[in-house]
Symmetry: C2
Subunit: 381 residues, 2 copies
């Protein structure tokens, strides 16, 4: 950045006394500062504040008071393992992002500043960073959904080497409630994970399609063209073939269940569960990440819901009769949807339907979903 | 958003006592609030703050103190004409974005919250908003630059209807110093301007290519894969045919100068000036927006620089001998590069090289560059 500003200063002669563009604004607060001992120092300039705290998953206990030194407030974390971390300041009660850090992510309506700690090639932090490897392209396209009666936006990753005539398998990657077609790219670091796993030879080159899963919206809140919309008659799950048709028509893909995967987090796990039941021969690989596993909105157990929905029992039978290569369930021990996944596994066990299960620490958080995607992608195709 | 949260609450049964995801976070501050009388009320919750100010181009005088009411600080603007506005709060000296507003733009390393005021279809604010019109797609691709010795990232807009076999003309749209391949999409609202002008029938459907103009970078700071890079031997201007070759090979385009345009702001205006001189028969339309107009880094006048660079005199002659359809110069009266543009116009007048000139209020700011793009795009093809 300094070099750029120097360059700008060199050729932009006759600089006005008054700065007219953001390039002349100074952001010299060094934050976050990754220290040699593995700790990270966060800083914020707030000369007139009486109290500044920091909140985030990099803070032991989740929240800490910062210390004032001159105009600057600072806090140094414990030594941190490789991971993507988030944080936010509170200055006299107001929510504040780190002005020294351009890495920020939106989760639904909330922003957090973020940083990545990596110790060595291939660790979790490394997987989420940009490296000097071949990169895939990312497109934001509008597809026609006759089922929902609108044009809708989705994001599509094509791997390095795409466009040389070869066909690729496809992973459909679904977001959670409140998310949109940007969520897996920003919070989920999908493009970095895919670039890096492919560069390491740990995942096969594939196309990754990440649509918008909110049936009443045409796009995420920053891109939507609709101010108001009637709730559609059909569900997102029913509309899913519209997405697959667009991908088939516009991309060079390998066809058939052996070359088609679907996975998603939370509501996207629910969508994966239901879409694969509605299309029992379409997907060879299914991944349920912290999934909501329900058949209707009642408070009844999954077992009871299955008794009331004989068509769902048939759909699950058809799905497993097609002998998918992988039905993968992943959830954290503290996830509030843990019980629903216990119920699903009990049913699959009872029916002798084969699946694989991964359980780790933590709750219903992006940290886990990035891990699950990294693991699931390595099992595909 | 409320409906979404309701939906989530309905089907995410068994909600944990502790919120685990941002969807459960409340952001109920109504800010910005567009009032019926044309004013806009900004609000921020900062219960313990002693002083809160707001800075931005929507504030008369550029800065104002906010008033405390309970936990909330508020400020109401004057009645505002149709435009895209930006602002930022300062809470006891700390820089703060509006937590109630997810619309934020990064300019180099600075963030501002933004909102759009529109009074009627077709006004400036309307042009920058998403509407229920046909949308173009936006792709972020990596192209090979043999001239600079790296793969580099750029963004490409394809108009509604693209992919039906038809070929389209191409506009190359260049950013300023410190910007990157995202700048015209975020601050510049390029995709919205193009969608809306095309929907109104005021611009022809075209492909718009917005590359990264910093020769030493492969991508913007959020996407770059390079930690350090030697300064390239060649310039960005010299590498420009690499970009045009990629576009020719990967997109269905109409060829020839009559179907090719280039424009840019500030450093991108300089690039437009120089790239069109290096490729005198490539572009039928050139747009210099608040351009830096120099031939070298000396402090000499353009006239003196031209005397020292006879090759540049020849290049300009070849450019105008090719009889381009439009050489368009636009700048604000308070722009610090105004003098350089006076010098350019004097030279063009002296040589009887035809050009068109647009001058308006204001300085070296995105507000002007959005206006210039909206005007220039209507003149093309």
């Amino acid at each position: 950045m300094k070099r750029l500003q120097l360059l700008a200063a060199l050729w932009l002669t006759a600089l006005a006394a008054v700065a007219q563009q953001a390039i002349f604004e100074k952001h010299d607060t060094r934050s976050p500062q990754l220290n040699a001992d593995g700790t990270v120092t966060l800083r914020i300039k707030a000369p007139e504040a009486t109290k500044v705290s920091v909140v985030g998953d990099c803070i032991s206990g989740g929240r800490a008071e910062m210390t004032k030194e001159g105009d600057m407030w600072t806090y140094t974390t414990d030594a941190l393992p490789a991971e993507l971390y988030n944080y936010r300041f509170y200055v006299d009660g107001a929510e504040v992002q780190d002005a020294g850090n351009i890495e920020r992510s939106r989760d639904v309506r909330s922003f957090m500043s973020t940083f990545i700690v990596s110790r060595e090639e291939g660790d979790k932090g490394w997987l989420y960073q940009n490296h000097n490897v071949e990169h895939g392209d990312v497109s934001h396209v509008w597809y026609d959904s006759p089922t929902l009666g609108m044009r809708r936006r989705m994001s599509i990753y094509t791997p390095p080497g795409y466009d040389k005539g070869k066909a690729y398998p496809v992973l459909y990657l679904l977001h959670g409630a409140g998310g949109d077609e940007e969520a897996w790219l920003t919070l989920g670091r999908m493009a970095q994970i895919m670039d890096n796993l492919i560069a390491l030879g740990k995942a096969k080159p594939m196309i990754v399609v990440t649509p918008n899963g909110n049936a009443s919206d045409d796009a995420g809140p920053l891109e939507t063209g609709l101010s108001k919309k009637e709730w559609p008659q059909k569900t997102y799950e029913e509309s899913f073939p519209d997405i697959m048709n667009y991908v088939k028509e516009h991309y060079k893909i390998k066809k058939g269940a052996a070359n088609t995967a679907i996975c998603g987090l939370s509501m996207g796990g629910y969508h994966t569960f239901r879409i694969s039941m509605l299309n029992p021969k379409a997907f060879g690989y299914m991944g349920l990440f912290s999934a909501a596993v329900r058949l209707d909105r009642s408070q009844k157990s999954l077992e009871e819901q299955l008794q009331e929905h004989p068509e769902a029992v048939e759909q699950l039978k058809a799905l497993f009769d097609a002998q998918p290569k992988l039905y993968w369930i992943a959830i954290g021990k503290e996830d509030f949807l843990f019980g629903q996944n216990v119920a699903l596994r009990s049913y699959l066990d009872k029916m002798h339907y084969p699946y694989e299960y991964y359980e780790n620490e933590g709750g219903h958080i992006w940290r886990n979903w990035r891990i699950y995607l990294s693991m699931f992608a390595q099992r595909l195709f």
